[in-house]
Amino acid sequence: MSEQLSYEQALELLDRKLKALEDGDLSLDDALSVVDEARTYLRVAEQRLEEARKRIEVRPEGAGMDEQR
């Protein structure tokens, strides 16, 4: 499910989990599973960012366009 998340969605979920953890009224078991979820969202957000970086880096060189005209 997390695979379909956008960067913003993952970030928002991550923030929600972080807040829940920092508020600190979870049982230990719950807190640990929330940590796991938060890590998943963090990983997704980082992946999305990395994908964006790659897309920007592999874009066609602008120079080619200029020479056609």
């Binding site: 970030l11 972080l18 600190g24 640990l32 890590r39 960012l49 602008g62 005209r69």
Partner: protein, 447 residues
Amino acid sequence: MVRPEEARRPLTVSELSFEIRRALRPLSTVLVKGEVTGLKRTGRGNYSFSVRDQQAVMQAFLYGDQARRLGIVPEDGQVFVFRGKVDLWKSGALNLIVDFIQFDDVGRLRAQLEAVKRRLELEGAFAPERKRRLPFLPRVVALITSPTGAVIHDLQETIRDRYPNMEILVYPAQVQGTASPGSVVLALRRCNQEGRADVVVIARGGGSFEELYAFDTEPVARAILASRIPVVTALGHTSDRTVADMVADAECRTPTEAGTRVVPLKRDLLAALAERRRRLERETTRQLAGHAERLAQRRQRLAQVPPALLRRRAERLERFRSELARLSPVRQLERREELLRERGARLEAASRRLLRQRRAELAGRDASARLERALTGRLTAAETGVGHRRRRLQALSPERVLARGYSITLDEAGHVLRSAAGTAPGRAITVRLGAGSLAARVEETRP
């Protein structure tokens, strides 16, 4: 068979020619109106052509120099009023040597022009809001002009200077003469039909009112209005704007100006693009860095969570353990003992303090008699309450001991002797008994 006049000496050809030329002298400054046909440019740059009306034809000749002075080169189909002289050339040809040319009926043309302008004005053809915007950067520029001469050269050069690989399509047209309006209209129509160009320039290198006549005609004006492609005129330096200028979407004077108008400077565009590319890259990097920073912050926060979870719980456990220890029975006993000890110490200190105070009070009262009295008084007062105490006191008092048969030995100074070593043989001693005392002398000491 020879008739008498034939017997006269025949004229030479030169003589005949001379005679004819003399006869032609009255025709040395004639005005002739006619249509030009068969115009040819001779090897020496002069023009030979025919002038005709419905019935007759006449050879005519115009020197190149003269044509340049007049600023007019006649074209086939045009009707002019020619001024010149009729001359017989040595070749035997009869020629009209032209020295002045005037368009026929200029007044009529101007009147027609005014009518066209009025009609178009009423239709709103000159309104600025009707004019189309020229494309920012055309893919193809069309030129409607004469395929030879300085105009097309200047146009192409300007455009290629500004935009080296700009595609230029030339639609050749006659820009002068009676065939010109039709030619321009056809070229413009073709340009629109092909639809390859994004802007079209109609150009010509200036000229007199008559020469620019084509651009004042209604068909040309209508063709410009009907063009889907924006039209720019560049008809040269003239005092009067032509109708074509008025209906065109942009109006320039020279080919250079038109070239500048329709095509931007490529190096400016490239510089602007490069600048935007730099901005884009900078912005992209900045954005990515910003997001990476946000994620890094969260990663750090997240990393702090599990240790904190454990630490909080460990701290709570530690608190419970110390609480539990505090509540254990052994510790309770110890605490109570501690409390007792502490209170005992305080009690002792307090009693000592009291005792000291009393002693000081007693010392303050020098009269032992008063002390005695007071003590006796108190004792008497408390006699019944403290009877048993007095009895114990009496049991311990030295008098009671003496009464039981013990004695106390004192030295000369009245000090109690507790050891035989405290005296020596021959020394006086006093022995106190239960009743009375003995004055005695030591005979011998035994350790």
